[in-house]
């Protein structure tokens, strides 16, 4: 145990010596969670609308005043009909509301037909749709017509303020663990190979397995530290519900950390150059986590092939389980499927990488 202890000590010193990496590793989850919990949002507020009208009658002016008072809308000024394209193209407004010449008579109920046209910048379809809906809702409510009373009543459950951060925190955790455990372990083992100090370690009376375990221990501890800070931030700063089973949350996170360490080990056994280790972990660990885990892009939107492929990405299951536990507040049994899959994957990857590791050294 003392040999193992002193090895862990040596590895910890290696990590602590490189203050810049250390800072990044410890600060990364905090900065990512803080920044993205506020910044990553797709909600549409402050829709800027410009108005075109052939006559500035009192009915038109009154409705513009009414729309201006809506907290989600910002008035961008009256423009000429010829300026519609230029206004939208230069991004001075998101939508242009065009009144027809007979708006007064239609709104007074004398005539029938559409009295307004909304020209929307649809270059971002999601934003454009939401902006149109906001303006449409505001106009309907200003008219107090029957159409307003018929509008369906929309309720959004589980995340009523529509905070995208809720959705994002699990993704950040998955990304950070892959980065710290997977990438750092593989690079640090390969570095010893490249410099030649690995050989020296291997001729020492310490068992190879112990060397590897000692290398992993500090990264494991850093990850546990990161998990704690992330959970505290999520709970007290972002006010995530966190009503699910905390035990399940911790167990599945530890399993995922071990799995990431195993992946790092696997990569390090296979390659002998740092730069190759970096590129492989970048392509096999980071890109799948960003693209195929459902962190940014919903899995059900993926094309069929990638949806099938995402089944083998561990982070997909981890993130799904975390969302259930942190946002929806399911109990331990609610995530049994994810838990089982992650456990099997962890066992599989650990045994393959340890086997390969022993083969190489035998």
């Amino acid at each position: 145990m003392t040999t193992f202890g002193s090895f862990v000590h040596k590895e910890t010193l290696h990590i602590l010596r490189d203050t810049r990496t250390m800072m990044i590793v410890l600060l990364m989850p905090v900065v990512l969670i803080l920044l993205f919990s506020y910044a990553i949002s797709t909600e549409v507020n402050n829709v800027r609308f410009a108005v075109v009208s052939p006559h500035y009658t009192s009915a038109v002016l009154e409705q513009v005043r009414h729309l201006e008072a809506n907290p989600n809308l910002r008035f961008a000024g009256f423009i000429e009909p010829t300026e519609i394209d230029a206004t939208l193209r230069q991004g001075k407004a998101d939508v242009v509301l065009c009144y027809s010449a007979d708006y007064d008579r239609i709104s007074a109920g004398i005539e029938q037909g559409a009295s307004m046209q909304l020209v929307a910048d649809m270059s971002n379809p999601n934003n454009g749709t939401m902006a149109t809906a906001v303006v449409q809702g505001a106009i309907l409510s200003s008219q107090a017509s029957l159409a307003a009373a018929l509008q369906p009543d929309i309720r959004i459950l589980y995340n009523p303020q529509m905070k995208s951060s809720f959705n994002f925190v699990p993704g950040v955790l998955g990304l950070v663990f892959m980065l710290i455990c997977g990438m750092m372990t593989s690079v640090s083992i390969v570095r010893e190979k490249e410099v030649g100090t690995m050989e020296i370690l291997l001729v020492s009376p310490v068992k190879p397995l112990q060397i590897i375990l000692a290398k992993m221990t500090p990264y494991f501890m850093i990850s546990c530290l990161n998990l704690t800070t992330a959970l505290l931030l999520a709970k007290y700063l972002l006010q995530l519900p966190l009503t699910g089973s905390i035990t399940a949350l911790i167990i599945i996170s530890v399993l995922f950390i071990v799995l990431a360490l195993g992946l790092g080990l696997l990569i390090s056994v296979m390659v002998s150059k740092q730069i190759v280790a970096i590129l492989i972990s970048g392509m096999l660990l980071m890109i799948p986590v960003m693209m195929l885990s459902g962190m940014m892009f919903p899995i059900e939107n993926l094309p069929h092939f990638f949806r099938e492929l995402s089944v083998i990405i561990p982070a997909r299951w981890y993130i799904a389980a975390l969302r259930k536990l942190m946002i929806q507040g399911l109990p331990f049994l609610g995530v049994w499927k994810e838990m089982l899959i992650i456990s099997v994957m962890t066992l599989g990857i650990l045994s393959i990488s340890l086997k390969r590791f022993n083969d190489r050294l035998a």
């Binding site: 490189d18 029938q112 939401m130 809906a133 309907l140 159409a147 740092q274 939107n301």
Partner: protein, 365 residues
């Protein structure tokens, strides 16, 4: 000047001799441009819905039929109890529950009509809110179609979609994804360049030559400049061939922006490379910034949706300006003169990072 020429030749020769890099530059943009647009899709479609029908009228049946026929929704069934439907929502098996009150159709002709209620799953907030909007407009349309004879129900507004009339999310993402490809190559490769020379020891040899700092950094920057422009050209050709997407505005504007942007990003990469002691450190610092660049610059989520202080912070990230240029020129055909604030900002960033990269290179440690 002559020294610079020889140094650039040296870099290009080294690059050509490398077994991996030329292949990477050729294949990476192709693979990324073929795969990314398929994945980076936040289009809201296939919203799965269950209906809780307490009305059993012809109108509620018409609504269910319309929903089944629409490509935006998948009807997952009709229930009579709200709680049963809600439990499906809770297990994330469906995205929305549409609940129709008793005597809904009858009440529509009365002064106080009943309202349909829609509950959506907000865990995926985009799908929750936009799916809800789509459902709501489907309900309104259905009511208008069947009760259109009553004038008061008429919707006073018609909507015209500019720039992307088919609401194709890919058209919006592809110009920005090209920038992601440029960021990945033009940030990481320069970052590894100087630091790997340091690890191999060839840096020391460089340091004892009389080459001035400016010439040395310029000789490292210019090859990446050429590389970045080639990569952009490659990506634009793929966008045109595969996705049938070509810029509405002038290609010259795009390349002018790209010239400045690549100078900025590779200058930043060289700066990190200069101040890092080993590859691991350089990679981690770069990773940190690249993730922030990608997520804070409006690539995936719009800058205008951020809170005010984040919007101010976003001015400090160079990709933001180039993403705006690309999207505006590609989709809206915005003119060069209308984009002067963005081009000016990129010029400033390029000058700032490149000067810093030159200053941070020290021949004596």
């Amino acid at each position: 000047m002559k020294t610079l020429f020889y140094l650039i030749r040296k870099e290009l020769l080294q690059f050509k001799r490398n077994t991996f890099l030329p292949k990477l530059i050729l294949a990476f943009p192709i693979v990324m441009m073929l795969i990314l647009p398929l994945i980076a899709n936040m289009e809201v479609k296939n919203v799965s819905v269950v209906i809780v029908d307490n009305d059993y009228s012809s109108l509620s049946r018409l609504l269910a039929e319309k929903m089944d026929a629409s490509s935006y929704f998948t009807l997952k069934g009709t229930f009579s109890s709200y709680n049963e439907a809600l439990s499906l929502l809770e297990e994330s098996k469906v995205d929305a529950v549409l609940s129709i009150p008793q005597d809904w159709e009858k009440s529509l002709s009365q002064p106080h009509p009943q309202r349909v209620s829609i509950s959506t799953n907000g865990v995926n907030s985009t799908k929750g809110s936009i799916g809800g909007q789509y459902l709501s407009s489907l309900v309104l349309q259905t009511m208008q179609a069947s009760l259109g004879s009553q004038a008061s129900i008429h919707n006073p507004l018609t909507v015209i979609n500019f720039y992307n009339p088919t609401q194709d999310y890919r058209r919006f993402m592809i110009p920005a994804l090209m920038i992601m490809v440029i960021i990945m190559l033009c940030c990481f490769l320069p970052t590894l360049n100087i630091v790997s020379e340091k690890e191999e020891g060839t840096m020391e040899q460089m340091n004892v030559t009389p080459v001035p700092r400016f010439t040395f950094i310029a000789s490292k920057l210019i090859p990446y400049w050429i590389m970045g422009l080639l990569v952009l050209g490659e990506a634009m050709i793929i966008a045109w061939l595969v996705y049938n997407l070509s810029p509405m505005g002038s290609i010259g504007t795009i390349f002018l922006g790209a010239l400045l942007f690549i100078l900025t990003m590779s200058g930043f990469g060289l700066l990190i490379s200069n101040i890092s002691g080993n590859m691991q450190q350089a990679m981690f610092v770069m990773f940190f910034f690249v993730i922030i660049f990608i997520l804070m610059s409006g690539l995936f989520t719009p800058v205008t949706s951020m809170p005010a202080w984040c919007q101010k912070l976003a001015y400090a990230f160079p990709p933001r300006y180039f993403i705006e240029i690309m999207r505006d020129v590609y989709l809206k055909g915005t003119h060069l003169v209308e984009l002067w604030p963005n081009l000016l900002a990129l010029t400033g960033f390029a000058a700032f990072f490149d000067t810093w990269a030159i200053l941070s290179y020290r021949k004596q440690q």
